[in-house]
Amino acid sequence: MLPPASGTGIFVNSSEKVIRLLRQGCTNRPFFHIRRKNQHRPVIEQLGTFDPMPNEHNEKLTSLNYERIRYWIGNGAHVSQPVEQLLGLAGFFPIHPTSYMTAWRNRRATKENQEKSISVEADDKNEVKQ
């Protein structure tokens, strides 16, 4: 049958442990489990979920088991970058620099787009005048 959603609980001492996102969901409907994982081995424990599709109220839902995350980090587990970003936004970690960078880039892109559209409009007006 299907492996249990909560993980197998089995872990190998020698392999590296990572807290990372694991895509579940189906086609066109991503959904992530945040899991403690042996490298290249079955999941040890599920630590939370992340749904990147905004819901009816325009919210992206994330659940995190802080107690277990703390425990595994204390045991020397690595945290992947996307999870670090999420934890940063949650106020659990300091905010990740990548978050700042993406925010800044997004702002710049929107600004450029606005300028472009303004200039295009201006050109259009000029053409009409001519």
Binding site: T62, Y66, A90, R107
Partner: protein
């Protein structure tokens, strides 16, 4: 199914109209009455004497508490038969009584909660990262729903605690409670609610409200207060007797000084002792003293002092006095006929 669809379409159309709530209010003629924190009901409600009085007014009938109920879509089960001695039967009945006591626990009366607006941190640098809110929930094992940490990262970078509405929704998503739905069902709004009131399904409404909402939810207080007012106006007290909601109803009526209808019903149905305890409850909650010379003096004093329906109450009391007098005479007659005195 087609009819169902049609009905739900109509409902949708109704919900969309902006004025629907005002229409609903006008039709029912009832306005929401909340318990607020300036006049906190908690000290008086959780008082032991008052709880006991409320319990006596509930008039517990075990056969009504344990009446036959339909258990959803479960199959009918075979009853179990047992041979019992007198002692075993008494013990079983005692256990049933204890069970009834816990089943009849009155839902707590507390002031309505205040909205949450607690900002944890401001990070305007994060503007533009997301176009939607991010909700982070702590799903650590063994934390109460009310204590659970739920925070929201707004699109403008502010990190704040989630509002009540969001908190309830998220709690229900990650830790579902049986019978509760993520969105409040339609039976609590608009014509559906009105229809239920019209059909006098009071116990059903109040039971569902207890499951769906927390007692400090303004929605809960809206629904219960409107239902209580409807019961008071339509003399539907008997529908709630022997249920856990009767105590809350009585407390509501006493709190808002509106016990005349209940008192009238009690006198008319010849429950003078209960009428007395109702007046006692009134005096305790409202801190009013009534003379206590004979059986009915407290009621008379109340009628003189605080009642709004003096005429009807006095007439009912007079009729009750006459009837009890006649009863005494008849009993005397019977006694003399039997040669007892």
């Amino acid at each position: 199914m087609a009819a169902f669809r049609l009905v739900s379409k109509c409902l949708k159309a109704e919900n969309l109209s902006s004025a629907h709530f005002t229409i609903f209010k006008r039709l029912l003629n009832y306005s929401t009455v909340e318990y607020d924190e300036q006049r906190d009901p908690r000290p008086s409600f959780f008082n032991k004497d008052i709880q006991n009085l409320l319990r006596t007014l509930t008039r517990v009938d075990l056969h009504k508490v344990f009446r036959r109920r339909k258990l959803g879509d479960e199959k009918v089960r075979d009853p179990e038969y047992k041979f019992m001695t007198d002692e075993e039967l008494q013990e079983a009945l005692q256990k049933a009584q204890q069970k009834a006591n816990s089943l009849l626990q009155i839902p707590p009366v507390v002031p309505a909660r205040k909205p949450i607006s607690k900002i944890l941190s401001l990070d305007p640098e994060l503007q533009g990262l997301e176009t939607s809110k991010m909700v982070f929930t702590d799903i650590t094992f063994g934390v109460k729903d009310s204590d659970r940490l739920i925070v929201v990262r707004q699109p403008d970078g502010t990190l704040c605690e989630a509002e009540w509405e969001v908190k309830n929704r998220i709690n229900q998503i990650y830790f579902p409670q049986k019978g509760r739905s993520v969105k409040p069902p339609k039976m609590f709004q608009g014509t559906d609610f009105e229809d239920l009131l019209k059909r006098q399904e009071y116990e059903f409404i109040l039971d569902c409200a207890c499951i769906q909402f927390e007692p400090n939810d303004p929605d809960y207080q809206r629904i219960t207060s409107i239902t209580y007012q409807h019961i008071n106006d339509n003399n539907g007290f008997d529908k709630l007797r022997s249920t856990r909601h009767f105590g809350a109803l009585t407390f509501f009526l006493v709190w808002h000084k509106n016990i005349d209808n209940l008192l009238l019903e009690l006198i008319e149905t010849c429950y003078a002792d209960e009428a007395n305890s109702l007046i006692e409850l009134y005096s305790k909650i409202k801190k009013v003293e009534f003379e206590k010379t004979n059986d009915l003096s407290m009621i008379e004093h109340y009628i003189k002092k605080c009642s709004n329906k003096k005429g009807a109450l006095e007439l009912a009391l007079q009729a009750y006095k006459e009837m009890s007098h006649q009863k005494q005479n008849i009993e005397k007659g019977i006694k003399t006929a039997h040669g007892m005195s």
